[in-house]
Amino acid sequence: MKQVHFITELFDKYDGRSLQAYLNVGGFASLQKTIEIGSEAVLTEIDASGLQGRGGAAYPTGKKLRQAQAEKAARKFVVCNADEGEPGTFKDRELLKCNIYQVIEGMVIAGICTQSQEGIIYVREEYTNMHDEIRNAIAECYSHNYLGKNILGSPYNFDLKLFSGAGSYVCGEGFAMCESMEGKSGRPRSKPPYVKQEGFLNLPTLVINTETLSTIVSIIKHGADSFRRYGTEESPGTKLISISGKVNRPGVYEIPFGLTIREIINDLAGGIRNGKKGHFVQIGGASGGILPEWLWDTPYTYEDLAKAGLSVGSGAIVVADEDNSLLDYLKVVQDFFSHESCGKCTPCREGNRQLRFIFERITDGTVTVADYDRLEIVLDVMGKASLCGSGKTEVVPFRTAQRYFPELFLTKESLEAKKAVV
């Protein structure tokens, strides 16, 4: 059982554009069911499924929905996070393109379960060529009462619109997203209060990933047990991965948790191109960890990746072969964060400046012992003291590279030994 079709069940069964076609293949059955059985039964099912948020933080979705439900306010929001900013990730793009109605269905269900009546799909600017299709799908749903007042004759109301990002990685973070929707530059706020308490317009806001929403719909349709047929005890179910880089068949695949990285590369993505040898993968986006080829038999699960110092993150897997230099790769990662750092907090803003200097000196051979000492301090402070997840997780690729390729960053001792010889 390599590739499966639980969330992607309808991908090639309809054109992804017409509401009627979606209904013909059983679309909106989960919404009907939600209206019939009520939110408590739905939340119990989601709890039982063990679904964890697919946006990167892996927070239990059932728990998150219950917390959102507990917030009391006259207006509450549900925001679908379709900002998909992690380099190497394009699975939400496929969900929007091939099955936008399931995302909308998930939004309405999330609205009902949390007693929120307003929804926003926050789509990255980079996906502008899909915005019209999404707006059309929303309009179709309004005209057939899958959105709007008294949905399908029920007491539930739900409004939905698209909001376009404007090219900022950090806006994938909940507070930064709220700020940008309020007409400000997208910089994260300090916590607490949390987004769920005082998010968009300082009102309770549930920010939830596109894949998480799609998965909820499939779980309600087929039951938590069918979801749990896949995966492991700690990583139940299936996951969309985006695999790219030096493989023969890059793309989006739905896999049961537990396949090994090597199986994903060889059996799904068609192996490394041109018969080259594998070198490393980066898992989970630019903020994800580096895993060397000799550890590719690691199973793709939350628990096994954690043991290796990595996480599932955005579901991205970027594959590099023997021709790719890890140092060059890390410079690209560092450049990404230097550019995207919003500059609000000192550890990330200044830390990135220092990292850039150190990398420049590693590259041109002028690196000193003091630079390596500084690298340690900078990574330590960034990981511990950054305001948002961007600065905090940026250290992961560097830490894992140090762990698995220690020769890349010459240690103090070896540098001194080298000096003594000269």
Partner: protein, 159 residues
């Protein structure tokens, strides 16, 4: 004050109820009307007045987001991805081909103001990497020949 700027700002701000919460979509829409893909100082001032916010807030937003610009750019914007996958897939050739075809370096605009060539971060086309984005359209798996054809087509020349 240029009357056509005033008129454009008025119609778009009115559509968004003169509410500063909508500053981002307002700026995106305003910029989409600019042949040079930017928001000029006078326009920024007009918008600030209409929404009753400071000019510095308008500039904070324009300069923060990479899709917005306070400086004039080319009529067509070519963005070459410089993120992880595209780097692994050797985007150096692609960069070189575009520079050669346009006669400019990355970061520059052609003298006729037709094209701006810039680096960008991953726009989710890693499955066809190395990828470029020309305005809103994505192109991947390019060859030297295809780059030539693409630019010619954008110049309005049939090859």
């Amino acid at each position: 004050m240029k009357p056509e700027l005033e008129q454009l700002a008025e119609s778009i701000c009115a559509k968004y109820d003169y509410d500063a919460v909508n500053l981002l979509p307002i700026l995106q829409e305003i910029q989409s009307h600019s042949a040079r893909n930017y928001i000029c100082e006078e326009m920024a001032r007009i918008i600030a007045q209409k929404l009753d916010i400071t000019e510095s807030r308008v500039y904070d937003v324009i300069t923060y987001f990479s899709a917005l610009s306070s400086e004039p750019r080319g009529e067509i914007i070519i963005q070459i991805c410089n993120s992880t996958t595209c780097n692994v897939n050797n985007n150096r050739d692609l960069i070189h081909w575009f520079e050669e075809e346009l006669g400019i370096n990355v970061g520059e605009t052609t003298p006729d103001n037709k094209f701006t060539l810039i680096f960008t971060h991953c726009f989710g086309a890693c499955d066809v990497s190395p990828a470029v984005r020309i305005d809103h359209d994505v192109y991947g798996m390019l060859t030297r020949e295809k780059v030539k054809e693409l630019i010619a087509a954008k110049r309005g020349v049939v090859v």
